[in-house]
């Protein structure tokens, strides 16, 4: 069942209603935005619950059980509770910076979805520089973390913010370079065209030996760091920095950081799916189902990391990026270029 048909039908209905074209366009865009936003909010809530369940089962527990069937209402309850909490602004805080930080984090997390294809034709806007747009937008998260660290006027938060800035800048490089390797092969920056170039399973970039798997692994490691998750969760290292950059945030502002974190996890998984795992491509099932299956599988991998590994120290983290991942990804990029140029393996 392809959803795109339904949307097309609705859009045509709107176009036939006699409204001016500008309005049709606008209403279409707003509707798409609202739909994507709602979907992602749901996904984020689901992911929080899922993470708790996954962690619980890895740890031989049950996780939330009493709030609905297997605790399915748990995150809804959490969100409603956070809504009721008092909103505290520390007296020493830098007010505007403190106020805007979670909002920027939230918006940046959601904005990336403009160019992510959820299925064949299910994309808000197919920009011809799609992947560049995503890389640019996700970088906003760092700014928000820095702002949160600075604005809270708390030493732990500041340390957390500084760490996250250093970390994300370091890992942005291998991540982008590993993405570049794919782009070299696909010959396009548009997400849709990247997906279309991997129609059959052996065309998925993860299976294009030898550069594909290396780029994929580099990407996954860098993405874990980008989303501040264990083993790279030093910005909010609970045992060192209490809660890192969000130590002073309460109530809804904290919820925004919390949701943004999970949306980011979904984003990097979705990008990973699109770039390496063939996006919506797959037999029998509708395209959007394939997309979600692959993305959730990747999300599961991230959760698996989180509940297995200890945390790296901040300098070791930097060393790992600059001394290992960056050279590796650049070498890989050259390899991909050579392969593309020579025409080997170019199936």
């Amino acid at each position: 069942m392809e959803l795109v048909g339904i949307f097309k039908y609705l859009y045509e209905l709107l176009a036939d209603s006699g409204l001016p074209e500008v309005w049709v366009e606008l209403i279409g865009l707003v509707a798409a935005a609202v739909m994507v936003f709602g979907l992602l909010a749901l996904i984020a809530l689901f992911l929080v619950w899922w993470e708790r369940k996954v962690s619980a089962h890895i740890q031989q527990r049950f996780g939330p059980m009493l709030t609905g069937w297997h605790g399915w209402r748990q995150t809804i309850a959490d969100a409603l509770k956070l809504l009721q909490k008092e909103d505290i602004t520390p007296t020493t805080a830098d007010r505007p910076v403190y106020y805007w930080a979670p909002i920027i984090a939230f918006v940046a997390a959601f904005a990336a979805y403009v160019v992510i294809p959820f299925g064949e034709g299910l994309i808000v806007a197919d920009l011809n520089v799609g992947i560049l747009f995503i890389v640019a937008i996700t970088t906003f998260t760092i700014i928000s973390l820095l702002m949160a660290g600075w604005g809270s006027n708390n030493k732990y938060a500041l340390l957390g913010g500084m760490r996250s800035a250093a970390q994300v800048v370091s890992y942005e490089v291998p991540m982008v370079v590993s993405i570049l390797a794919v782009i070299v092969f696909a010959g396009s920056l548009s997400m849709v065209q990247i997906v279309e170039s991997q129609e059959l399973i052996y065309q998925w970039y993860i299976f294009r030996l030898p550069f594909g798997p290396i780029a994929f692994v580099t990407y996954i490691i860098a993405a874990t760091a980008e989303t501040n998750r264990t083993p790279f969760d030093i910005p909010e290292a609970e045992q060192e920095l209490v809660a890192g950059f969000n130590v002073e945030y309460s109530g809804m502002k904290f919820a925004m950081f919390f949701l943004a974190e999970f949306v980011n996890v979904f984003t990097v998984s979705a990008i990973g799916t699109t770039l390496f795992l063939g996006g919506w491509q797959g037999p029998w099932l509708p395209s959007w189902v394939w997309f979600f299956i692959k993305t959730f599988a990747l999300v599961f991998v991230f959760m698996w990391f989180r509940w297995t590994y200890p945390r790296l120290r901040v300098d070791q983290l930097m060393e790992f990026s600059w001394k290992f991942l960056v050279p590796l990804s650049f070498a890989n990029l050259i390899l991909a270029g050579l392969m593309k140029y020579s025409g080997w393996f170019n199936w």
């Binding site: 031989q60 049950f62 996780g63 709030t67 748990q74 309850a77 509770k81 309460s250």
Partner: protein, 168 residues
């Protein structure tokens, strides 16, 4: 919060408004009760039992309770362990840093009333209700994880009886 407090007053003026406020009340209380994030505050023996309650066999997470390290994000202090005179101002500070609505569980004899350190000790605060308002007392030295769970369920019952009008 002011808006929510006044909401019932306005709502009652409309037909069916009462129903809306009651169900709103119900939903809010339910969500608050089933998502009590507790502050990681353990000082002595009870902290080990608190950890054991969070671990696999008893599993706090079943009740939707997870720990937060920052007082800003937690709803509940489980004061686990002896509070000494040196520690008492810190407990008050942590309580003040928490966002409303906030709750306190006094876990163990020491926090209820001095416990085994009531006599002959010059350093122990005899009960934390001198310092912060306490919602649930759990006696025991240390209380078993089952009694801690029971205490938390009691707190949930208390939360579920709240009224929107009482907020503030």
């Amino acid at each position: 919060m002011g808006l929510i407090k006044k909401l019932p007053v306005y709502m009652e003026k409309f037909p069916g408004g009462g129903l809306v406020t009651t169900s709103l009340n119900y939903v809010f209380n339910q969500s608050q009760a089933s998502s009590l994030w507790y502050l990681l505050f353990g000082t002595a023996c009870c902290a080990i039992e608190l950890m054991a309650t969070g671990a696999s066999r008893y599993d706090f997470d079943r009740l939707g309770m997870i720990f937060r390290a920052s007082p800003r994000q937690s709803d509940l202090i489980i004061a686990a362990g002896t509070i000494t005179k040196k520690m008492a101002p810190r407990l008050r500070l942590l309580y003040d840093q928490m966002a409303e609505p906030r709750y306190v569980i006094a876990m163990g004899g020491c926090t209820v009333g001095g416990g085994p350190f009531y006599y002959d000790s010059y350093a122990v605060e005899k009960g934390i209700d001198h310092i912060v308002p306490v919602d649930v007392y759990i006696p025991g030295c240390p209380p078993r994880p089952e009694s801690l769970l029971e205490g938390c369920i009691t707190l949930q019952k208390k939360i579920k009886q709240q009224k929107l009008e009482d907020w503030g």
